[in-house]
Each structure stands twice: as structure tokens, then as C-alpha cells.
């Protein structure tokens, strides 16, 4: 409870952090309460209402098949935010412990893990994501696994590098003097002091994950039509821009932009908040 109060206080001091936090909350609320917020069913095609400009009835207009863009944008939050947050959590769950071990043990284990991380990171993320998804199949689960796998090396490196710089500090020696086992030392002494860069990066990465999902969907390797997803919505709406119906691509694009920005702002705030020397 005390930690929460402390967090809330710090948040209020930081304009950027507060803005980012609000944006994140909005996207989460959109995702959870989509059925209540959205006026129309997101996948109901109404051919008569196709390509309508934004109006009171349809805040963001309609797309080619007559589906309400606003409702689709709201429902799409479910997919995008879920994929981004869940994949990032999995990424951390994979990358952090391996990074801890690689940093603490070094030796052969450390070398092998770093080389594997090198290989994974050597591929352009998008290409590898495309390849993984096409092998495993286009669905939300696989997209989550693909993104989680591709991003894990990032956290692995951050954590490992922090561990390398602190593991020789006397407080770690003191823990060994006390008789703490290596596992205990890794998780109680090293981990809390190694997480900061990884957590900050994860906040930014959530934004990138949304863009990655959007990109995959844009080229058809992501979520299937007609499931609403910001990226695929931009893709579907792209041909309409030429004929003047800018709203189909515009609003999902703005949604991505604001969401990514929000997570980045929050990440910046975390950088200051997680500093143990903050009074």
C-alpha cells in the first residue's frame, strides 16, 4: 500500500508521466469496456452505410464495408494492447532470468546464451516476425509468442550488463558471507538492482510491439480480416485515401501514435521513479 501511495505521489509530480499513465489507462479501459463504449458491433458490415464521413452517428466515419470505424478502433485496442502487454511480459519472463544467470555465472553458459542472443538479434525483427508467424500460423497467440521470443534478447542483455557491473560490489560479497545460496543472491540481491533499464525499455517496447503487430497485419501476416486491429485497419483503409476517404486509415493511425507515445512517456517517468536514490 505504501508503495502505491509513493508511486501515485511521484506520478503527480511528473507531467509527462501522468500524461503517459492516463493514455495507458485509457487504452486499457477501451480494451476492457469495449462492448459498453462502442456503439456498433465491430464486425457488422452494413453495405448501405459504406464510406460515410465522420458524423454524429459515426464519430470516425465508416469504412468500405460500412463498419463503424470508431467501434472498430475501440475494439481493436483489445487485440493490440493484449498482444503488446502479454508479449512484453513473456519477453521479460524469458529474458530476465536468463540474463541474470548469464551475468552471474559467466563462463560457458554465459558465452552460449550471448551468442544465441546475437543470432536472434542479427535478423531484422520484422522479417523474423513474418517468418515465425507464417510458419506457426496467423493468430493472436502466435503473434504473441513471436514478439516475445524476438524481444527477449533485449532484456537479457540489459539485465546481464547490470549484473556484470554490480556483482563484484561488496554487498554481494556480504550476502555470500551470510551464507546465501547463489540463487538467493541472484534473486534477492542482484535482480532488484538490475531491473531498471529492462523495465524502462519494456515500456517503450510495448509501443513497438503494437507497431510490429500493426505492420504484420498491414502486410497480411498478422490478424485476419475482419478482426479489428489498428494495423490491418490502416491497411484496409489505405486504398480509400486516394478517393478522399481519409478517415478509415487516419483514426487507427492516430490511435497507434498516441498509444505508443503514452507508453514512451511512462517509460521516461519510470526512469526517474525507479532510481533508488530518489528521495
Amino acid at each position: 500500500m505504501k508503495v502505491f501511495g509513493d508511486f501515485w505521489y511521484a506520478l503527480r509530480q511528473s507531467k509527462g508521466g501522468l500524461a503517459g499513465f492516463i493514455i495507458i489507462m485509457i487504452t486499457l479501459l477501451m480494451a476492457i469496456f469495449a462492448p459498453i463504449i462502442a456503439p456498433y458491433h465491430p464486425e457488422q458490415a452494413v453495405p448501405e452505410a459504406s464510406r460515410l464521413a465522420p458524423s454524429f452517428d459515426h464519430l470516425f466515419g465508416t469504412d468500405e464495408t460500412g463498419m463503424d470505424i470508431f467501434s472498430r478502433v475501440v475494439y481493436a485496442a483489445r487485440i493490440d494492447v493484449t498482444i503488446a502487454v502479454v508479449s512484453t511480459i513473456f519477453s521479460l519472463l524469458i529474458g530476465v532470468p536468463i540474463g541474470l544467470a548469464a551475468g552471474y555465472r559467466e563462463g560457458l553458459f554465459g558465452e552460449i546464451t550471448m551468442r544465441i542472443a546475437d543470432v536472434v538479434q542479427a535478423f531484422p525483427v520484422f522479417i523474423l516476425a513474418m517468418a515465425l508467424v507464417s510458419i506457426l500460423g496467423n493468430n493472436v497467440q502466435n503473434i504473441i509468442f513471436a514478439i516475445a521470443f524476438l524481444n527477449a534478447p533485449i532484456y537479457l542483455r540489459f539485465v546481464r550488463s547490470e549484473v556484470l557491473s554490480i556483482k563484484h560490489r561488496p554487498f554481494v560479497e556480504a550476502a555470500r558471507c551470510a551464507g546465501m545460496s547463489n540463487i538467493k543472491i541472484m534473486f534477492k540481491e542482484l535482480l532488484p538492482n538490475s531491473l531498471k533499464p529492462a523495465l524502462i525499455q519494456s515500456s517503450v517496447n510495448i509501443g513497438w510491439a503494437i507497431m510490429l503487430t500493426a505492420g504484420l497485419s498491414f502486410i497480411g501476416a498478422g490478424v485476419n480480416v475482419p478482426t479489428p486491429e489498428w494495423g490491418s485497419m490502416i491497411s484496409i483503409g489505405a486504398p480509400l485515401i486516394i478517393t478522399g476517404q481519409w478517415w478509415s486509415s487516419f483514426f487507427p493511425g492516430v490511435a497507434i501514435g498516441i498509444t505508443v507515445f503514452g507508453y514512451a512517456l511512462f517509460g521516461d517517468f519510470l526512469r526517474l521513479y525507479l532510481d533508488p536514490e530518489r528521495s
Binding site: 556480504a174 558471507c177 538492482n193 533508488p276
Partner: protein, 327 residues
């Protein structure tokens, strides 16, 4: 007085990755530490004194040598030996800030040391923590503070509280006051003396600050490039020193008394690298008294007075009375 610790031929070599070179941090060091005493280990950089301390607690694995605690050989550091050493031997470190986990409060830092002992009930554990913090005079208001909110003196006292909480019999003090201001140093030293009087803890005091060593220690060893060059009681080594290095070291000390002038005894050159040491006496390249013999043959250990030992070709053994009568 019994021997609490016996160190025999302790050697520690650090191989340098990628080469065949080896850093000889500790070279064939032997001495004993008696129960209840403060044994001082003096040396400059590269002397190996910190490595010796860490070998005693198995924070570094000795390359060779025998370590005995209360007669028990713990060189192999098996499970049984480990549990005894970890509960009866502790260490206080040089840098007060880095010796504390920046994310732990004062209370947690001390309590976590005791948590490892699963047989200790929670209530007793908490009592031990507050007792330890009381002994080092950390007030209750500071229990929830983080290291960066404490002064250097307080940080060091927390480090000491952490070391004494498990009621150890032996503590290695690795330059505990070198990073502190003069007035804070005095506080910490007073505290260490008080703790020894109250609880009978044996100390290994590692330092390069000769005046503090002289004040605090009963017996002392001077190290150079991983070897002990001289050891004996504080009186013997400080007033009646024998080894050229001891002489140079003591001559270098600037006493805070203008009436006591410095002697001119100096070594030439700088401390050589501990990689690939020469044969013969390690000091030969810098020693004003070096002869050919010194550069070729390793100097013997000679007892120049009862209990005072020197590693030097020029040292003269004292005549044991018994030998004279029956000899």
C-alpha cells in the same frame, strides 16, 4: 591463548585470460591468529592483504594451502565446514556505500543476513537485529532509511551491525576506515574496540594506515607482493623492525607531530607488477641493502626475537637460551 585460525602456505594465483601469465596475489603465506586478539595485516597496493582476508572466508578460492578454524581444516569448504564458517566468521568492507544493497533498508540489510539460518525463529531473529543495531548506535528513526540517506559513518555502522548480528567469533575488517573522514574514523575504531571488549570477537584488521594499526592491533604482519616480510607483536614490528621494507614503510609515515621528524630511509622505484615475479627476494630491485644473494635465493624465515619473524637474508636469529645451555 589458543589459535583461532591457522593459515599454512596460503597461495592464490589469478590466471589472466588469454595469456599464460598469472597474477601472484598471495604467495605462500603462513601465520596464526589467536583467540581474542586483533591481528593487523599491513601492506600497500598489490601486497595481497585483501586477498588473504577473502581467502579466509572463502570469498575467493585459495589455489593452495591449508586453513584451520579451531583446529578444523576447512580448506575444502564442504557443506559442514561451510555452515560453520558462514555463521562464525564475517566481514566488514572498505567502501561503506557499496557494501550496502541500495534497495534495502537498514533493518532489512541486517535481518536478511540472519534469514539464511532457517532454524532461527522469527521473534528471536528480530531481537538479534535490534540488538545489533543498538550496539552500533543506529537509532530507531533510521531503521527504515536507505543507504543514500545515511552518512558515511552511519553506513559503515550498518555494515558492522550486519557483521555482528549472527554473533560471529571472527571478523575480517578490510580497510574499514580508509574511506572515512578523520573524525568519523575515530568513532568507528572506538566502536570496534568496544565490541571486542564486550563480545570477545577476534579481528583481522587489514589496512595501510599504520597509525591506526599501531593503535588497534596486538600482533601485526607486513606484506609485500603477496608475501609476509615481517611479523610479530605491534611493539616488536613498530619499534624494533627489521626488514628493509618495514623500515621504508615506517619511514614513509608522516606523523602528526612536527617534533618527530621523518627518517630518510627510502626504497627506489615503484612497486613492480605482481605478474611473473622475479626469483629471489621480491624486494631486491628496490632495496637499498640488496646483495647478489638477495636476487638469486629466496630469503629464509628467521626468528629475530621470540615471536618476531622476518623474511630476509640480513636478519639475525636470536639465540634461544635453551640451545645455549644444552648446545
Amino acid at each position: 591463548m589458543k589459535n583461532l585460525l591457522e593459515i599454512e602456505s596460503l597461495t592464490k594465483l589469478f590466471p589472466i585470460s588469454g595469456t599464460k601469465d598469472v597474477v601472484s596475489a598471495v604467495n605462500n603465506v603462513s601465520f596464526e591468529i589467536r583467540e581474542g586478539e586483533t591481528f593487523g595485516l599491513i601492506g600497500e597496493s598489490g601486497s595481497g592483504k585483501s586477498s588473504v582476508g577473502r581467502c579466509l572466508l572463502n570469498l575467493i578460492n585459495p589455489t593452495k594451502g591449508v586453513l584451520r578454524y579451531k583446529g578444523m581444516d576447512y580448506s575444502n569448504f564442504g557443506k559442514k565446514e561451510e555452515s560453520i564458517i558462514r555463521s562464525e566468521m564475517q566481514m566488514v568492507f572498505q567502501d561503506p556505500y557499496y557494501s550496502l544493497n541500495p534497495r534495502k533498508t537498514v533493518w532489512d540489510t541486517v535481518e536478511d543476513t540472519l534469514r539464511v539460518n532457517k532454524t532461527l525463529p522469527e521473534g528471536e531473529r528480530k531481537t538479534k537485529v535490534s540488538e545489533a543495531l543498538d550496539k552500533v548506535q543506529i537509532s530507531r528513526n533510521d531503521y527504515e532509511k536507505y543507504p543514500h540517506q545515511l552518512s558515511a559513518g552511519q553506513q559503515q555502522r550498518v555494515g558492522i551491525a550486519r557483521a555482528i548480528a549472527p554473533n560471529p567469533k571472527f571478523i575480517v575488517l578490510d580497510e574499514p576506515t580508509s574511506s572515512l573522514d578523520l573524525s568519523v574514523r575515530a568513532e568507528i575504531i572506538d566502536l570496534l574496540v568496544k565490541l571486542q571488549k564486550e563480545d570477545g570477537i577476534t579481528y583481522l584488521f587489514i589496512s595501510h594506515d599504520l597509525s591506526t594499526v599501531q593503535y588497534l592491533c596486538h600482533r601485526v604482519a607486513i606484506m609485500y607482493l603477496g608475501k609476509i616480510v615481517e611479523y610479530g607483536t605491534v611493539d616488536q614490528v613498530f619499534r624494533n623492525h627489521n626488514h628493509p621494507y618495514s623500515k621504508a614503510l615506517l619511514a614513509s609515515v608522516m606523523k602528526a607531530d612536527p617534533k618527530i621528524p621523518r627518517s630518510n630511509y627510502r626504497l627506489s622505484g615503484e612497486i613492480p607488477s605482481p605478474i611473473n615475479l622475479p626469483k629471489g627476494c621480491f624486494l631486491a630491485s628496490r632495496c637499498p641493502e640488496a646483495e647478489d644473494k638477495c636476487r638469486e635465493i629466496e630469503p629464509p624465515l628467521i626468528e629475530v626475537e621470540k615471536g618476531q619473524f622476518v623474511h630476509c637474508h640480513h636478519a639475525k636469529a636470536y639465540e634461544k637460551i635453551e640451545n645455549k645451555i644444552y648446545g
